[in-house]
């Protein structure tokens, strides 16, 4: 049986996968043994072909899906999970949606209220507190979803292609804002995406996964300092690194 041990304190390592694998009951390998770690202040992206099990990594990290081999080390009380869709509850206003996770976790009313107001301010939704999701744009919904997790003040953030459904302009702006949050809060992030540019732009490290069964086949350190200006996307060094990631990804298909 795989064991989940609480995160060892003081090492700065917030999440670690040690030879973690996932096999479906019918014998299909979803994830072949993978090992990696996310330290405090690290932004790790995982890119890979669709269906390679990248999202499964997040589900395993959070405990939503059980792994069948290896060891996951993480403190699940301090976990933020941002889904592919905003997954807002349409009958709740922005404020009540942002409040949801704290409410389910029985956070005291006064603290909850203060953190909700802060989170809404941080993601730039001030003034939209009483709007219902149907009145928000896709980008604003994603901001609300982000704020909902921020309220928990997580040490580790899991992002499952959060901006995949947004248009490019909104996406780039949310990339900038998320980098701002990352700098301010210094959480560890595990970010799933299928956009190479997004992975390189956001991350301190990029992992490349192979097609199913997913394995990590390459790893790249991203040397750029934060904050990262939008012009970085047109930097030759950025293009070179993106090219390398792209090449590794293509070899994964071969």
């Amino acid at each position: 049986m795989p064991a989940d041990s609480p995160a060892a304190s003081g090492t700065g390592r917030l999440l670690s996968f040690d030879e973690v694998a996932m096999t479906f009951p019918d014998g299909t390998h979803a994830v072949d043994p993978v090992s990696f770690g996310v330290d405090a202040g690290e932004f790790v992206s995982v890119v890979g072909p669709s269906g390679c099990g990248k999202s499964t990594l997040l589900r395993i990290a959070s405990g939503l899906t059980a792994h069948t081999a290896g060891t996951v080390t993480v403190d699940r009380r301090a976990l933020g999970y941002v889904f592919q869709d905003a997954t807002l509850l349409p009958w709740r206003t922005v404020r009540r949606n942002v409040e949801l996770l704290a409410e389910l976790g029985d956070m005291a009313q006064a603290e909850r209220r203060q953190r909700v107001a802060e989170a809404i301010h941080l993601v730039g939704l001030t003034g939209f507190e009483d709007k219902y999701p149907k009145h928000l744009s896709g980008g604003m919904r994603m901001r609300a979803s982000l704020a909902r997790s921020l309220v928990l003040e997580p040490d580790v953030f899991l992002f499952d292609e959060p901006f995949g459904a947004l248009d490019e302009i909104t996406r780039e702006r949310l990339n900038d804002e998320l980098i701002g949050l990352f700098q301010a809060k210094q959480f560890g992030a595990l970010f799933i995406t299928h956009s190479i540019a997004e992975a390189v732009f956001m991350s301190t490290r990029v992992l490349v996964m192979s097609a199913r069964p997913g394995r990590i086949i390459a790893e790249f350190d991203v040397p750029f300092d934060y904050p990262r200006p939008p012009e970085l996307r047109f930097d030759p060094e950025f293009a070179r690194l993106s090219g390398e990631v792209s090449q590794a990804l293509r070899s994964a298909h071969a």
């Binding site: 976990l79 999970y81 889904f83 997954t87 509850l89 009958w91 709740r92 996770l101 389910l104």
Partner: protein, 284 residues
């Protein structure tokens, strides 16, 4: 200049000023009403005259129906009848809503429970109500409670099926969200499944409310003890060859059905209108 030859000039159309409800929303209903009243007159004056051999009085003209029904004698009976039928339909509907919602919540808890009940619900729903009604009287007697049971039986299924459909309709990622926070089954039901099911639940209520009125009238045709509802009046007028009054009672029972339908539509809009994204108004 030749390059302009194939070019047309399009001028901007300023937005039309909106005053009150649009004309289009009135024209349809008025035309529809005129059509159906016209069809009725046509049936009275032409079809029965020429096809059925001068038996026009069997389908009286609309104005005769209205005039004769509003005369003091049938009017008092009809108003009282409306009250009785509405009471039975309402009590029946409330019982069906309580039991139906409870059953749907139970069925939503686990797949085996759902599978245990579902086939019998489908089977029961497939039995024509008229076949069951006489059997009810044998057990419950020929009064008020038998009428109510007819209403409950006829309006039960749409409530269960719509509520269940709504409760099971929560997205997986929404469930994940609750799972991550270690939410209990009860919390999940109250904060995720029930609120999310409200649009479907109201659709069920609306269908059930109309059916409950039908149930009340059908019940009255079989169970004569107790107050004289519209169904009893309808049957009495018909047996005495009072056709205008028969049609009057018929129209009245239909209006009662429309009224409860509209009421639940209004209630639904009041409760979920602020957040629910309506795809298509009406129909349900």
């Amino acid at each position: 200049m030749s390059s302009v030859d194939s070019t047309s000039v399009y001028t901007a159309v300023p937005p039309a000023a909106r005053r009150g409800p649009r004309l289009g929303s009135i024209v349809g209903p008025v035309l529809g009403f005129a059509f159906f009243v016209g069809l009725w007159y046509f049936t009275h004056y032409w079809v029965l005259e020429n096809v059925f051999g001068k038996r026009n009085h069997l389908v009286p003209a609309p104005h005769v129906v209205v005039r004769r029904s509003l005369e003091p004698i049938p009017r008092g009976d009809m108003i009282a009848g409306l009250g009785w039928t509405a009471l039975v339909a309402l009590v029946g509907l409330m019982i069906a809503i309580t039991l139906g919602t409870a059953l749907a919540v139970l069925m939503a808890q686990a797949k085996p429970i759902e599978q245990a009940f579902w086939p019998y619900l489908i089977a029961a729903q497939a039995i024509p109500i008229l076949a069951i009604v006489p059997l009810i009287g044998v057990v419950l007697g020929f009064g008020f409670w038998s009428r109510i049971l007819v209403c409950v039986i006829i309006s039960f299924f749409p409530i269960v099926s719509n509520t269940l459909f709504g409760l099971l309709g929560a997205e997986r990622s929404q469930h994940d969200l609750f799972t991550l926070q270690g939410a209990s089954r009860w919390t999940r039901l109250l904060k995720l499944q029930l609120p999310g099911a409200l649009p479907a639940i109201f659709t069920g209520f609306r269908i059930a409310a109309g059916l409950s009125v039908i149930g009340a009238v059908v019940g009255e045709l079989f169970f004569r003890k107790g107050g004289k509802g519209i169904g009893i009046l309808m049957d009495q007028y018909r047996s005495r060859n009072m056709y205008p009054q028969t049609y009057g009672a018929l129209v009245l029972s239909s209006l009662l059905g429309v009224a409860v339908f509209v009421f639940f539509g209004w209630l639904s809009k009041l409760v979920i209108g602020r957040w629910h994204e309506q795809t298509r108004q009406g129909a349900g």
